[in-house]
Point group: C2
Chain length 394, copies 2
């Protein structure tokens, strides 16, 4: 038996306890919890209770489907286990394990919930019109992305090819994207779904959402700009979406609850909750190791509860494994913008990264997102990183 050492002030302390899926050597993937710089194997530590077989699985889906009472009970058992001794074979340095995609993604919906991002993109994509479209303040605008290309942090990103047409060109050409970008987002993972024809209330988000991940929604702006009317983004986004290997339980984010910045006009009744709130999560964007932005999630206009309520208000079912993401997190300041197209204003105002003027991503570039939120007693709650390196188009 051994005691798991958690460094003081670790963002992966006992108040966090995010879940992931890992393997060691060629072994089978199983569910683990991150504590400090350690991964604790739940298929070893938690056994003997109904449902514990879900920890010997290659995704969190079986555990997520067990529902909020079970999530709370397991969280308490993990806490208890980590404040006592655990079997030696259950403990692995995080550097010694392989981290897998933690969830089997059912449907993936990406929202557009930052007013600053939507306004910036409106100015860039439709320079002659009002930046915010008439529906934007009435509903959380969103669309379905490709679930099959959600990948775990660390997966290389092959530069996508596709059709691009600049405004001054007569016809589109085919080739590798020349405006490859990121979108720094938070994502929310559904544990308990809903029945056909029913809907989820804004205030019921914690009965359905298991936890949160950090997301990089890689975006090929030239492909997107040409294809996106009238049915929305498709190939410009569908090549890859990276998520963190660790899913932070919603229970770990209670100290991060903050009021929304304010909504005007007042939204329709189905989008109003008595207990609705935003989240005070600070994101850090690093480009080849250099900080380029700090997007503040607390600035988001629409709440996670509103997104979930909207997504199901037409009676569409939610399912275990559904992932809904916030859209790019951008704050009011330039250095708070979560996409390079905004940071460089469409490529016209380059950033200096490692001493070089930069606009969009080049082959070999690495982007790393990290994030943290306030926990109880002055602690911080860390999200797993989302790292990706751009590889040349094939």
């Amino acid at each position: 038996m051994t005691r798991v050492e958690i460094p003081d002030r670790s963002p992966f302390g006992l108040h966090n306890l995010p879940y992931g899926v890992f393997s060691v050597g060629g072994g089978a993937p199983r569910v683990g919890v991150r504590a400090g710089d350690t991964v604790v194997d739940l298929s070893v530590v938690l056994t003997g209770s109904d449902g514990d077989e879900a920890f010997a699985a290659s995704s969190l889906n079986a555990f997520m489907a067990q529902g909020p009472d079970r999530w709370a009970a397991v969280r308490q058992r993990v806490h208890d286990a980590l404040t006592a001794d655990v079997p030696h074979e259950a403990v692995h340095p995080v550097s010694a394990v392989r981290l897998h995609l933690p969830i089997e993604v059912a449907d993936y919906v990406d929202f557009y919930a930052s007013e600053h991002h939507a306004s910036n993109l409106g100015r860039l994509f439709r320079p002659d019109a009002e930046p915010l479209l008439p529906n934007w303040r009435h509903l959380p605008v969103g669309y379905h992305g490709r679930a099959g290309t959600v990948v775990v942090s660390g997966t290389d990103i092959v530069r996508p090819c596709g059709q691009r047409k600049a405004p001054d060109e007569d016809a589109p050409t085919f080739g590798p994207s020349r405006r490859l970008d990121i979108e720094a987002e938070l994502g929310f993972v559904v544990g308990i779904g809903s029945e056909p024809g029913s809907r989820i209330a804004v205030d019921d988000v914690a009965a359905h959402v298991f936890g949160a991940v950090l997301v990089n929604d890689w975006s090929a702006r030239d492909i997107q700009a040409w294809e996106y009317v009238p049915l929305g983004p498709h190939l410009g986004k569908s090549f890859a979406t990276s998520i963190s290997a660790w899913v932070v339980p919603l229970a770990a984010l209670e100290s991060a609850r903050v009021p929304l910045p304010g909504q005007s006009p007042e939204p329709l009744e189905y989008l109003r909750g008595r207990d609705d709130h935003g989240l005070d999560v600070d994101i850090l964007v690093e480009w080849n190791g250099e900080e380029v932005s700090r997007p503040p999630y607390r600035e988001m206009y629409w709440s996670p509860g509103q997104m979930l309520a909207h997504m199901t208000v037409n009676g569409a079912t939610a399912r275990t494994g559904d992932l809904f993401a916030s859209g790019t997190v951008s704050g009011p300041e330039r250095a708070q913008r979560g996409a390079f197209i905004e940071l460089t204003w469409g490529g016209r105002e380059p950033l200096t990264v490692k001493g070089v003027e930069r606009t969009f991503l080049l082959d070999g570039d690495e982007v790393a997102l990290t994030a943290s939120a306030p926990g109880p007693d002055g602690t911080r709650i860390g999200f797993g990183e989302v790292v990706g390196t751009v590889r040349a188009a094939r």
Copy 2:
């Protein structure tokens, strides 16, 4: 042992042999083939070869993942079995079985491949602009739909609620959709997917696509019109998409191959195949039992091979169970339009159905789609019906 009787001129003759998933009484779902008005249980008839365990499954996915050589071999074995005697317990009248959703849908992409439909919708949604947007003739425009709400024919459709705002209203209101519509489409089911960063060539469609289904992409036009800029349709579509219980193998559609109607300008190289073709499938739309339209699939501008090539040209993976649909099938004539918004020109030119003037769907309405295509030797290849009844909003 018994011989399966197939009526002369049945659209489900030996040249068709579509696959589905069925159960009898409270028994487990398994894979069957339709022959005439009979369902033949493949988990009983085909045993003893590697891979035959895939027929004792609740979806076609395991069989579809076995690839085109196996699809061809099984098709031959089914043909041989049905021209000899089969075990009595393998044979069920189609009226005595429950038909299930035949595939586990991975990602669902809906295209917009009919020039007539796209032009009509452009005129209706954007009356002051060119009906076809600049990108439409250069690429098959499409978007991701909700995989989790793809349902099998016969499933009731609960009228969706959502935000609607008519052009003459100041603000949106919430309530049941007042413009509930259909979209008659064909869908294509992927058996063999592709690797990240690779792409599928137009001419390789038969190495990847297992078969075709008939699709009704139910659409709430009032919700759609308000929400769809700039990220495309979402709640206006995501409540339900119905597909036929039977998947027609691509091999059964060889006699239905026809040249495309013609593409101008010539598409970019990745969209050009040497063996590319359309399909001569006749769809019939019945509203409460009365014929209202006969959409001709042979009029579609973009081919299934072009849709699949486009969907993967950015390196996005395809997966077993992916469903991509054509978008509404509309021909040049009014009586060939595959959506009520086109048939009634936005509700301004009602249809007479059962003696009553009608525009959009009312609670209790039933819509049935059927389809057939030329088979060899003057036969017809039938698609399973897609039927749905509208139920009142909850």
